[in-house]
Symmetry: C2
Subunit: 334 residues, 2 copies
Amino acid sequence: MRIALDAMTSELGVDEAIHGLFDALAADPELTVLAVGLPAALEPLLSHGPSALRSRVELVAAPDVIGMDEEVAQVFKGKKETASVAVATRLLKDGKAQGAISPGNTGASVMSATLLLGRVPGVRRPAILTPLPTGNGYCGLLDAGGVVDARPEDLMQWAIMGSVYMEHVLHVQAPRVGLLSNGEEPTKGNAQTLGALPLLQGAPIRFIGNVEGRDLFNGHCDVAVADGFLGNVVLKTAEGISKMILAQLKEEYRRQGLLPKVGGLLSKPVFRAMLKRVSPDEFGGGPLLGVDGNFIITHGRANRVMIRNGLRVAAECARQDLTGRITHAFKAAA
Amino acid sequence: MRIALDAMTSELGVDEAIHGLFDALAADPELTVLAVGLPAALEPLLSHGPSALRSRVELVAAPDVIGMDEEVAQVFKGKKETASVAVATRLLKDGKAQGAISPGNTGASVMSATLLLGRVPGVRRPAILTPLPTGNGYCGLLDAGGVVDARPEDLMQWAIMGSVYMEHVLHVQAPRVGLLSNGEEPTKGNAQTLGALPLLQGAPIRFIGNVEGRDLFNGHCDVAVADGFLGNVVLKTAEGISKMILAQLKEEYRRQGLLPKVGGLLSKPVFRAMLKRVSPDEFGGGPLLGVDGNFIITHGRANRVMIRNGLRVAAECARQDLTGRITHAFKAAA
C-alpha cells in the first residue's frame, strides 16, 4: 500500500507533516509513504525519523510549491510538472501510488486532481466530502469545496458518491442520505433543492428527504448534500460557534473564584476527551470524490494528527477501491 | 408604553408566557402589557400574579389560536379576526399598543404582521433578524425567516433595516454590515451574493464586504445578511453543534472517574454563566423588520426568560421609534 503525501504545504510546517507520516507508518505496517517535496527540506527530517520505519518512506523530489495565497488559475499551468501537489498527483495517476493526500491550497489540490487524474466517467463536478462529528460517528457533508453553482443533478451525483464513501471507507451500513434544506417538509427549499429532490428520490441510495442544519450533528443522517456555497458557510459557522463557546468557557473560568478554577483543573481530562471527539483533526480531511483516483484533501493547517489520519483514510480508500466502486456506481446508474 | 403579547402560543405553555409577562412588568415600571388570548386560560394565571403588577396588565380576549403545525396559508383567512396573533397585531395596527410580540407559528406571525400592518413604503420583503451571541455582544443575522428566493435588492434592503435595528435598539455605534458568503474576497459568492455586492457597496450603511460563517460569532460584524434559506440552515447548524458539544461534555463527565466528576460539580457556576452568555433565551427573539409596526417574533418554544426579554425588546423598539426610523431610512434612500 503506497500513498503519496504532499509534504510541503501544511501551513503548520514540514516537520508537522513528517511527524504525521511516521505516526501513520507506525500504525499501519503495510503502508509505504512517498514523501513529495524539496529534498533539502525533507531529507534532514526524514533521517531523524525512527529507524525501523524509515525503510517505508521514499522521498520523491518536487522542486516547487504552490502557496496558500497563490491564485491557482494563474500559477498552476507553470508549475504542473514541478509543484509538490502535482508531483504527488502524478504518482497516483501513474500507478506508483494507490492514493494521495495534500494539505495546503485547496484550489490547487482540486485543480491538480481534476486536471491530472480526470473525472470518473459520468461525473460532472467532483466534490469534497467533510466528515462532521456527531458524537458517535460522522455525517459526511458534500460539497465542502468550491462548487457554488451546482445543478440539481450535481447534488444527486454527490449523494451517490457520498453514500459509497460513507459505506465502504467509514463503514456505515446503508448510509442515510439527506438533502440540506430549510425544513424537513418536501415543500421546503430553494429552486436548487426543490429541483434536486425528485432526482434524489430516484437515485440508488437510501434517501431520507430534506434534513436541517441540526441534523448534521445529531446522528439523523450519514450523508448530507449541499452546494459548495452552503457547505462552506455551514462548516465555518460550526467552527465559529464552537470556538466562541470554548472561548466563553475559558473566560468564565478566568472570571470566577478559586473553587470553580479547581473544578476546571479537575475537569481537564473531560475537556480533553470532549475536544478529541469533536475535533476535525481526528478524521484527517476529506476525499475529493469524483476524480479518477483516491485523493484526500486535508485542512490547510494540517497538524500531525490530521496528516496521520489523512494517510490512514487514503490507505482505506485504496484498500476498499473507492474509485472503482464510484466508477461502478455511475456505470450502473447510467 | 403598551405592548401586546400573544400569550397563547408558546409551545411551553400559557403559564410560561404569563411568568415572563410579570417579570417584564417588574423590570420596567413604564410598561403595560396587553395579554391576548382565551380569557378562561389567562384569567386564573393573571389573577395569581403579583398584586402590585396586576394593574399594568390588560386582558384582551381572542377566542382562537393558530397552532404550530397548522398550514398558515389555509387557516389564516378564517381566523384573521379571532386568532390571538391576529388580535395582538390589530392592537398594534390600531395604535392601542406600540409594539407586539408573538411566539409560536412563525409563518402565522409573519402573515399576520405583513397583511394587517402592511409594509414600510419601499420595502419589498420583510425579514426576521435573529441576534447571534458573539461573547460580548450580538451579530444580527437576517433573514432568519422564510424568504428563500431573495433578490440582490432584498439583501440590500435588509442590510439597511438591520443596521438601523442594531444601532438604535441594540445600541451598537455605526454597525458593521457584512454579506454572508463562502469567502471574504469580493470574487467569492454565488449569483445572488455577487449581484448584491455592488448594491451593498452603494447603500447608506457601513458595509465591510463579504463575511464568512465564523464571522457571525467572532465579533467581526454587527449585521450579516443572507437569504432565508441560508439563514435558516446557519441558525440550525449553530444550534445543532452547540447541543452536540454540550452533550459530549456531559457524556464525558459521566464516563470519567470521581475527580473529574467533582471538577464538574465545582465548575457548575462556570457552565451556568457560559450558557447564559450563549443562550438564545437572553435576547428574546428577533424583530420582523420592514412591516409597519414594531413586531417581535420569538422562538416557538419561548420560555419565561425569552418572553420577558421579548417584551423588553419590543418596548425598546417602540421607545426608539424603530419603524419610524426604518421608514425614514427608506425615504432617504429612495
